[in-house]
C-alpha cells in the first residue's frame, strides 16, 4: 500500500494516517473519543471494502448502524454506549453463524 498507488491504496494509507494520528491525539483527548475513533475507523474500513466489492450485506449493515449512531458520543453518551453494546451483540450473533 502506497500513498502514490491506486485510489484504494491511497484510502487505506489515509486510514492508517487517521489511526496513527488518533493514537497520538487520544493521549490528551477526552476518554470517550477513544471508542469513537475506533468505531469510526471500523466504518471507514468497511467503506473501503465496499468500494472494492469486498464487503458483505452484514458489514454494510454494521456501517449503516455506525454512521447513524456514532455522533451520539457528543449528544447522548448513554445512547452511544447502548449502541456499542448492541453492535457487539450483533457481531457475536454473526460470529456464531460462522460455526
Amino acid at each position: 500500500v502506497e500513498n502514490k498507488g491506486t485510489a484504494t491504496e491511497k484510502e487505506i494509507f489515509n486510514l492508517i494516517c487517521y489511526m496513527i494520528t488518533s493514537a497520538r491525539n487520544l493521549v490528551e483527548e477526552t476518554k470517550m473519543y477513544g471508542p469513537f475513533r475506533l468505531i469510526d475507523a471500523s466504518s471507514r474500513l468497511i467503506e473501503i471494502l465496499e468500494k472494492e466489492d469486498l464487503s458483505s450485506s452484514f458489514l454494510d449493515k454494521v456501517r449503516d448502524s455506525i454512521e447513524n449512531n456514532k455522533y451520539k458520543v457528543v449528544t447522548d453518551k448513554d445512547g452511544f454506549i447502548r449502541f456499542l453494546d448492541d453492535l457487539v451483540l450483533m457481531m457475536v450473533e454473526e460470529l456464531e453463524k460462522g460455526g
Binding site: 494520528t21 491525539n25 455522533y71 457528543v74
Partner: protein
C-alpha cells in the same frame, strides 16, 4: 436574518456537497475573523485558506476530527512570538487561544449567513499540520474550520438555559 437567527441556525456540519467555495467568499469569512475582539488589541492571528483538494485530503489524514469532504478549510493560527511580545506568557498561552476562538466564531457565523456549513476542529496533529502548511516555528495552528455547502441539516442538541443563567449572583449547586 437577525444575529440571533444566525447564531441558532449554525450547526457543526460534517457532510458537504461537491461544490466549490468562491475565493471572494473565503476572503469575506477571513474579514469577519479579523474583526473579532482580541486581548489588548493584539491581533496576532494568522489565517490560512486551503482549497486544493489534495492538500485538504492530506490535512484530513492527520485530522481525526475532520469529517466529510470539505470544499475549503480556514486554519486559524496564532503568531506566538508576537503574542508573547505583546502580552507576555499570559498573552502567548491563554489570550491568543481565546482570540483565535473568538475569530473562529465570527467566521462560523459569517459562513452560516452565507449558506455555508462549517465545523471547528481541534483534533488534528499540530506538528504534522505545520509541516503541510509550511508554517514557521512561531506560527501555531489553533483550530481548523472545515467549510462547504451542507449536505445535511442536523438537529440542534438541546440547550440548557435556566440551569446556567443567574442574575447578579450564582445560586446553583455547590
Amino acid at each position: 436574518m437577525s444575529i440571533m437567527d444566525i447564531i441558532k441556525k449554525r450547526r457543526s456540519i460534517r457532510s458537504f456537497e461537491e461544490r466549490e467555495v468562491d475565493d471572494e467568499v473565503l476572503t469575506k469569512l477571513i474579514e469577519a475573523g479579523v474583526w473579532a475582539p482580541s486581548g489588548g488589541n493584539a491581533q496576532t492571528w494568522v489565517f490560512i485558506a486551503v482549497k486544493d483538494p489534495q492538500r485538504i485530503e492530506r490535512i484530513k489524514a492527520i485530522s481525526p476530527g475532520m469529517f466529510g469532504t470539505p470544499a475549503a478549510l480556514i486554519v486559524v493560527c496564532q503568531d506566538k512570538k508576537a503574542a508573547y511580545e505583546k502580552g507576555g506568557e499570559l498573552g502567548r498561552d491563554t489570550v491568543s487561544v481565546m482570540d483565535a476562538a473568538m475569530a473562529t466564531q465570527n467566521i462560523l457565523l459569517e459562513a452560516t449567513a452565507r449558506g455555508l456549513g462549517s465545523c471547528p476542529i481541534l483534533s488534528f496533529h499540530k506538528g504534522g499540520l505545520k509541516r503541510l502548511l509550511k508554517l514557521p516555528e512561531h506560527i501555531v495552528p489553533e483550530l481548523i474550520i472545515s467549510l462547504g455547502y451542507p449536505a445535511e441539516a442536523p438537529k440542534p442538541p438541546e440547550r440548557k438555559f435556566a440551569e446556567v443563567y443567574f442574575l447578579e449572583e450564582y445560586s446553583g449547586g455547590k
